[in-house]
């Protein structure tokens, strides 16, 4: 249908790249060369950015508030980990498999929980995470239970680049996966499908009246988001060569939500800011004051949420430095 193709073209052309969008990638590459001792932390940050990006599709764009996103992250981590311990060591196929398994759970879970909204949706998401947590906890022989899944051996990337103890391959691997996933998400949110998600967030009844099946769109984005969360979990397991119950914890669901809200939901880059700020602050402040740093973090988050609802990126827009929300 050429008319539709033309309409898509009009929407897509609108969103050319702005130079500020290069900043996070330049910073990430600079970090690789300038901070060789922090590559492990950097890899963890990149993983959390990818995880937050997947949540942004749900929370920031579609307006689905969930506290159960760790289910998909954890499932991706265990899938990638179990493939490796089971003898399949090639990383890229492991990634794809983990994302597919997480997306499949997203399809089943989404089919049930997206029929609800508000509190019920929140509770069902948490319940699914709890179920998976207990399954992983009880399948001791397979998952290592509370000790976690160790012995995750990953073959060299593309047969050449081994995952060494310095974390160089891990860092670049995580960065590459994040970049590809980001390109995908960016294209999606500016396409008519993504615009319709924003419409659904702002007025689902109106989208319905325009002929859009809100349930089908929400389910589609839920599956996509679950797959990306699984991808993040898989990168985590492959680069740390470890998967644990923490990957399926309620705590992780809350942390990624905090990161996204801190950075600014619905702006693509919220996770970049939120995950970086939170994890660098955690690393630095926790060394100084391992107990009390959370107090300052909590105070900061309260002030931010009350006075700058759009997160740190919202602050930038508010100061008139550009940045329209999506």
């Amino acid at each position: 249908m050429s008319a539709r193709a033309a309409a898509v073209g009009v929407l897509m052309r609108r969103r050319s790249w702005r130079w500020v969008e290069a900043l996070p990638w330049v910073a990430a590459i600079a970090g690789f060369f300038l901070l060789p001792n922090y590559l492990q932390l950097g890899t963890q940050i990149l993983v959390m950015i990818l995880f937050a990006l997947s949540l942004d599709l749900l929370l920031g764009y579609t307006g689905i508030v969930t506290l159960g996103h760790a289910a998909f992250f954890g499932l991706g981590a265990y899938t990638a980990g179990l493939l490796a311990t089971g003898g399949w060591h090639e990383p890229l196929s492991g990634l794809v498999a983990a994302a597919a398994v997480a997306a499949a759970l997203g399809l089943v879970a989404g089919f049930v929980i997206l029929r609800t909204s508000g509190l019920a949706l929140l509770m069902l998401g948490m319940a699914i995470t709890l179920l998976l947590y207990e399954v992983a906890n009880n399948l001791n022989g397979l998952t290592g239970g509370a000790d976690g899944l160790s012995g995750v051996e990953i073959a060299p990337l593309l047969g050449r680049f081994g995952f060494d103890m310095y974390g160089r391959t891990s860092y670049l691997y995580a960065l590459a996966v994040l970049f590809v996933a980001f390109l995908l998400v960016r294209a999606i949110v500016w396409a008519p499908f993504g615009r319709s998600l924003v419409g659904i967030r702002q007025n689902p009844a109106r989208m319905q009246a325009m002929g859009v099946s809100v349930f089908a769109r929400r389910l589609a984005v839920f599956v996509l988001s679950a797959g990306l969360a699984g991808l993040a979990g898989a990168v985590s397991a492959q680069t740390s060569q470890f998967a644990s119950l923490d990957n399926l914890s309620f705590d992780l669901s809350g942390t990624v939500l905090l990161m996204l809200v801190l950075g600014g939901p619905g702006r693509l880059y919220g996770g970049f800011i939120g995950a970086s700020v939170l994890m660098i602050a955690q690393d630095g402040l926790a060394k100084e004051n391992p107990v009390f740093w959370l107090f300052w973090l909590g105070l900061f988050v309260i002030l931010l949420v009350v006075f700058v609802p759009g997160g740190l990126l919202g602050l930038r827009a508010r100061l008139g430095l550009g940045g329209r929300d999506g």
């Binding site: 309409a7 929407l11 609108r14 008519p192 615009r195 319709s196 007025n203 989208m207 319905q208 999506g326």
Partner: protein
Amino acid sequence: MDEGLALRCEGLCAGWGETQVVSGVDLRLPAGEVLVVLGRNGVGKSTLLSCIMGRAARHAGTLEVAGRSVVGLAPFARARLGVGYVPQEREIFPSLSVRENLLVAARPQPGGWTLEQVLELFPRLGERLRNGGNQLSGGEQQMLAMGRALMGNPRLLLLDEPMEGLAPVIVEMLVGVLRRLRAQAGLSILLVEQHIGLALEFSDRVVVLDRGQVAYDNQDGLVPPDRARIEALAGVSGEG
């Protein structure tokens, strides 16, 4: 015979939850025609449109679009059958630009409305394409709401008081647009209005609602509408 009707309902009772607002309304809108629904505030005009779209609950009665019952169909399925709905509140997406509002759920059809044609109908929107939906005047919002509905290529257009609260110059412009839409082959319009003089310019087919029921029925349009009766039933004091 029903094939020739864009909209038909019989004994339609509708409301919100348990509350009934519309009681036993019969409507027959032949394809390509304009039917005007008049009535004072709160008599159930908007609820009637909402029920046709599938938002308000149908309590009883039949409801057919183009000869097909839409009872039990979700709103999006009714829209895909060709129902376009421009609500009184306009419901512009504030975070989407004007262009995105127009294209986000467009359903292009061969020979149907295109972005260019809609912008030709509403030149003002062409100047505002990059504006956010929250950066528009009331008149521009109304134009966008109507243009967006046309991008869905409806066969039955539900318009809920499109002139309400707008400046005279904008009203004049919208009247011109409605005349052009009336002349479009295959498009049927159900127009809810409070302004009797304006409404009667568009059609002899008139229904007046009062307390949820049809108080005056000239929807066959066989005789000229009885203006004195309509004003007695639906008139606002001071209106000329």
